[in-house]
Symmetry: C2
């Protein structure tokens, strides 16, 4: 096939679940499509700059819905393990985002196409996360039902105050994205590639080399960082719910960070400025990418992205030139 | 990325739902994985011949399971339309097949990787299938429940003798595979590409050029034929439940077809040798591919594939040299 290579730099964009479902929404298809269109509109600022793009997205609410459906239909339909459910959301959310992007791109010249890939991410069987599952997933259960799952299925469960019991799964670190070569090739050809949705489908390698699925969840921002390093992206953009990374977040001294070096960010991280459950993993992803040789990273919200690309908003972190 | 192009000819392989779920099975993940491994083992006969491969697969039972789950969990989780469910199965089955293939390929030299793509297939809003929905999907319903769906959701329903009422959806013809270029590029690089699962996610273009999802099902064999023509494959393989296409199928004069020309196959099709619900669409797919310039097509079952590649089994149809 004759195909023209796009000329712009390569960027990896990671976006949270807000790309599909906002707070207070019920998660209808109309809401998913409207939100995806909103994100696609904002990403056009990168397309206009001729960036080649790889997009990673979250899937928390959608995996939760699938787990609830499996629970309620358990007498009639065989439940699938978590790795397969992550794969399902790579299909469904990949499609919804793909369509939203195609529709925003339809008058774009030269034409650009979009492809979502089913992405496996390799994790280490010796990852300490397997000894300490921390990531809550799926519906809240009554104590009896939760204990039956522990007994019958070997789940780990945890009580959340006043809301009931919930399954917890490990969140191991991503080591390698198995489809990185196809992802990089397609992105270099100028196609917009959606990859590593939900952080990727976690798999581990057994002693004989066979890959097996893992019932766990990989952090999507860390997956985006590994992918960005592997494919040689020059820019990692993490879209989150707030316009900046903050020093002293949530205190009277809270202060948005505008631009800083990798070294400055590492020092602030060591001083615990970034809460583990929210901004922590995003900062960790930025640090990981820049340490591996990435040139620039940006953390901001979707609304601020166009201004951030002009250097007037967001938190910019600089690495190697 | 440096990557070596594979040298062999390009083949598109379409396989039915039996690749994941056999008759009498409950559809557990273990069954899915075992069946996928069996198909992957057979496909190694093509890999050993250095074929570049694109694989299309069915998804009937799996979409049925998702519809049943949605029905039973309807009070708690927003149901998704059929196009999104097809996308989910492209994720889940793509992943399961991808993993099975990777595991069979792990000692292969040179290394080959596998990628499943979320594939949209364009259909014509004026396709006559929309006036006559014929494809039954999802669970059997009681009459009252079925009529409520007609009233509330605009479903078309049909009664199946003694089993209850069932939703029927249109099965329009595939016109174009939106991701064909990325699929062809990855296959030419030597990666095994899984694409158009479940026949692809049907979408149509509105007057303003926007793509919208279609609640319908595209025949996977026809999608495979369109894909094979578009990417310039030299071989289309349709794996089905029986080792051959038969003349006078199901009668005392039943006779397996060994090798025939496109013209001979067209004549037999005109004489109604191939039942519409089963072998008909597969023969139609073969005819469509060879008319568009394809060189060869093969219809057989997975078990017979290795022998068929030696010319000792299956039904071979020849087109242009």
């Amino acid at each position: 096939m004759a195909s023209r290579r796009a000329d712009g730099p390569l960027a990896v964009v990671a976006m949270g679940g807000h790309a599909f479902m906002q707070k207070g929404e019920r998660g209808t298809i109309q809401e998913h499509e409207r939100n995806a269109d909103g994100v696609a509109a904002v990403l056009m600022a990168l397309v206009e700059r001729e960036y080649r793009l790889i997009i990673t997205h979250g899937n928390g609410p959608q995996v939760g819905s699938l787990l609830t459906q499996q629970e309620l239909a358990g007498d009639e339909v065989q439940p699938m393990p978590l790795d397969v459910l992550v794969a399902m959301t790579e299909g469904s959310l990949g499609y919804i985002l793909q369509q939203a992007l195609l529709n925003r791109l339809r008058h774009h010249d030269p034409p650009r196409r979009v492809v979502a890939t089913v992405t496996q991410v390799v994790v280490d069987p010796a990852d300490p996360a397997f000894d300490d599952p921390t990531k809550p997933i799926g519906p809240f259960l009554q104590r009896d039902a939760a204990e039956a799952k522990v007994r019958d299925l070997g789940w780990e469960i945890r009580e959340e105050r006043e809301r009931g019991w919930r399954r917890v799964v490990p969140s191991p670190l991503p080591l390698e994205i198995l489809q990185h070569q196809m992802i990089a090739d397609a992105a270099r050809e100028g196609h917009i590639v959606i990859a590593g949705g939900g952080g990727g489908i976690p798999v581990m390698q057994e002693a004989d080399g066979r890959f097996v699925g893992v019932e766990g969840v990989v952090d999507k921002d860390l997956t985006a960082a590994v992918l960005a390093s592997t494919v040689g992206a020059s820019l990692l953009i993490i879209l989150t719910a707030v316009p900046n990374v903050y020093r002293n977040f949530g205190t009277a001294e809270e202060e948005p960070l505008r631009a800083l070096t990798l070294e400055e960010l590492e020092r602030l991280a060591d001083e615990d400025h970034f809460p583990p459950g929210s901004m922590g993993p995003k900062v960790e992803a930025v640090i990981r990418f820049l340490r591996e040789g990435g040139a620039r990273a940006l953390v901001t919200d979707a609304r601020s992205l166009p201004d951030a690309l002009e250097g007037r908003a967001g938190t910019h972190v600089v690495g190697r030139i």
